[in-house]
Amino acid sequence: MPPAECFGLAPLARRVQDWGVSTGTVRALGDVRAGGLQAALADPVDFDAVFRRYAPYVGAIVLMIVGRPDDVDDIVQDVFIQAHRGLSGLRDPEAVRPWLTRIAVRRSRRWLRRHWYRRLFTVGDAGAIDDMVDPSASPEQRAEIAVVYRVLAQMPADDRVVWVLRKVDGETLESIASLVGCSLSTVQRRLRAAQAFMERLR
C-alpha cells in the first residue's frame, strides 16, 4: 500500500509547489486553476470533482482547528454535505476555496462547542499528536505542537478558532472576521483573550 500523502501547513505548501504552482502557502491549494475545476464548475452537478480537489485542503483546515485526527473525517463530511446544497449556486471558480474554508471553519467551531468534553481527552494523547504532525518535524516541533494543543484544549471554542486561524494559519484579522462571521473588534478581543490564556497556561 503506498504511503499516505500529508496535507498540512508546510508539507502541503511543498506539494502545491511540486505541482508547479508558484505559492508558498497551504491555502494556495484552493487557488489551483487547473482545467478540472473550471470543468467541474461548468457542470455544477459534478460535486465529485470539487470534493476530490478540495477534501484534503478542508481536512487540513479542520485538523488545524479541532486538533483531533480521528474526528476530521466526520467534520469533512459535514462540510461537503452542507456545501452540496449551495454548490450549484456558485459561478465564480475563485469563490469555491473561500466558501469551503468558511464552512469548514464554522463547522469546526460548532464541533468544538458540541464536543467540548472530548477536547479534554486530547491532553497527553500521544497518538493523536503523532497523527497530526508532519513526519519530517523535529522532536522540538513535535513537543511544541503537543503543548500548544494541550492549552488549546482548555480554551473556549470561539477564542481558540480565532487564535488558530491567526497564529497557526497566519490569516489576517479581516479574513478571520469574514471566516468566523463576526466583527473586527470581536476578532481582536478574542485574540487578546486567547493570547492571555495561552500565556497563562503555557
Partner: protein, 359 residues
C-alpha cells in the same frame, strides 16, 4: 502581519495524512448521507399535505367555535374579548369592553390602527421594513418594535412606553418617548417634557441614556439610533462610548453619522489600542459611502501611525482597493508592489493584485 505572527505561522508543522483511498471512502459516505437526507426530505414532503389537511380541519373547528361565541374571528383564546391579534403578529390588549379599535385596510406593508375609544396596550413585533402606527384622536404613535399603552383621555391621549421607543406626533410637533417614559399628548405648554420613570431609573442617567444603553445591550441598533439621533449628547468621550456610537450609526444604516465618532477616537485617543481599529473602520465606512479617496487616506493612516498593528496588512490591501476605486491605478499598483515587498507570503496577495488590475 507582525513578525511574531509570521514566526508563529511557520512554526507548527501540522499535517493531515491523506491519500486517494481516503478521498474515495469519504466521498462514498458523503453520497450515502446525502441520499439518506434526500429520502427523508421526500418522506416529509409526502407528509406535509396530510398534516396540512389535519391542521385545516382543526383550525376550522376552533375558528367556527370562536366566531359563534365572540362574534370576532380575529380575537384569540380565553381572552377573546380583550386580545386582538394583528396580521403582522403584533397584538393589542383592549382594556375593557368599551375599547374599540379599527385596523385600516389597504395600507400594507404599514399597519395603522385607529383607537376609537378606550385604551389598549400594544405589543408590536419588530420589523424595520414596515411602519406601525396607532392613531388616537389627533395623536399618532409610530413605532418600530415595542410595547406601549395608548389611552384616549378626552381631547388628549396618554402614551406610556414599556419597552423600546416610539415617536408620538400631533399636529404641532412630535416627541420621542423611550422606555419607562409616558406623557399626555398634545402636551400642555407647561408640561412639555415627558414624565420621568418612577422606579429603576438609576442615578444620574437620563431616560434617553438608559433607553440607548438598553437598546445597545439588545443589539437593537435601529432603536438605539432613534434615541441617539435625538439625544446626541448621551455619547461620552471614552473610546468605548465613541466606538459604540459609531457601531450604532453604521449598523442601523447611517454610515455617514459614524464618521465623526470614528474620527474622534483617532484624534483624541491615538494611544489607545483600539485607535487603529477605529481608523480602519473609518476607512471601510468611507468606502461604503463611496468616498474612496478619503478612505484611502484613512487606511494609509492605519499603516503610518500604527505600523505594528495587526491590521496593517489588511489596511494595505484596502488602501490598494480604495486607490483603484478612486481611479488612481498607478498608485494602486505601487501599493501592490509594496504589499509584495512587505508580505511576500501574504494571504491577500492575490486579492491585492486583483484590485490593482495586475491579475
Amino acid at each position: 502581519m507582525t513578525d511574531e505572527t509570521r514566526r508563529d505561522a511557520g512554526s507548527l508543522p501540522i499535517a493531515v495524512r491523506w491519500d486517494g483511498a481516503r478521498t474515495e471512502r469519504l466521498l462514498g459516505r458523503v453520497h450515502a448521507r446525502i441520499e439518506r437526507k434526500r429520502r427523508l426530505r421526500r418522506g416529509l414532503v409526502a407528509a406535509v399535505p396530510v398534516a396540512a389537511v389535519a391542521l385545516v380541519v382543526v383550525f376550522g373547528i376552533r375558528h367556527r367555535d370562536r366566531t359563534d361565541t365572540a362574534g370576532a374571528p380575529r380575537l384569540a383564546g380565553q381572552e377573546a374579548t380583550r386580545i386582538v391579534m394583528l396580521s403582522d403578529g403584533s397584538r393589542v390588549e383592549l382594556r375593557d369592553a368599551q375599547t374599540k379599535i379599527r385596523v385600516r385596510p389597504d395600507v400594507s406593508p404599514a399597519v395603522r390602527v385607529d383607537l376609537q375609544s378606550g385604551a389598549g396596550r400594544f405589543f408590536v413585533v419588530r420589523d424595520p421594513g414596515r411602519m406601525f402606527e396607532v392613531i388616537a384622536g389627533s395623536v399618532t404613535v409610530a413605532v418600530v418594535g415595542t410595547e406601549f399603552d395608548v389611552e384616549l383621555r378626552g381631547e388628549r391621549t396618554w402614551v406610556s412606553v414599556h419597552s423600546g421607543t416610539v415617536r408620538v406626533s400631533w399636529p404641532a410637533d412630535s416627541r420621542l418617548l423611550s422606555v419607562a417614559e409616558s406623557g399626555l399628548f398634545p402636551p400642555e405648554p407647561a408640561a412639555a417634557e415627558p414624565i420621568a420613570p418612577q422606579a429603576g431609573a438609576g442615578v444620574g442617567a437620563s431616560p434617553a441614556a438608559q433607553a440607548y444603553k438598553s437598546s445597545v445591550g439588545r443589539r437593537d441598533y435601529g432603536e438605539a439610533y432613534a434615541v441617539l439621533s435625538h439625544h446626541p449628547g448621551i455619547v461620552g468621550d471614552t473610546v468605548d462610548d465613541l466606538l459604540t456610537a459609531a457601531d450604532v450609526a453604521r449598523l442601523s444604516g447611517h454610515g455617514a453619522e459614524a464618521v465623526p465618532y470614528l474620527e474622534r477616537v483617532e484624534a483624541a485617543h491615538p494611544h489607545d489600542g483600539r485607535a487603529p481599529l477605529a481608523a480602519f473602520t473609518l476607512g471601510r465606512t468611507l468606502m461604503g459611502l463611496g468616498r474612496a479617496r478619503e478612505a484611502e487616506q484613512a487606511f494609509a493612516r492605519v499603516r503610518s501611525r500604527w505600523p505594528q498593528s495587526p491590521l496593517a496588512e489588511d489596511a494595505l490591501v484596502r488602501q490598494i482597493e480604495a486607490a483603484a476605486r478612486s481611479g488612481d491605478l498607478d498608485r494602486a499598483r505601487k501599493l501592490a508592489d509594496e504589499y509584495d515587498h512587505a508580505y511576500p507570503q501574504g494571504r491577500r496577495r492575490s486579492e491585492a493584485r486583483r484590485h490593482a488590475g495586475l491579475e
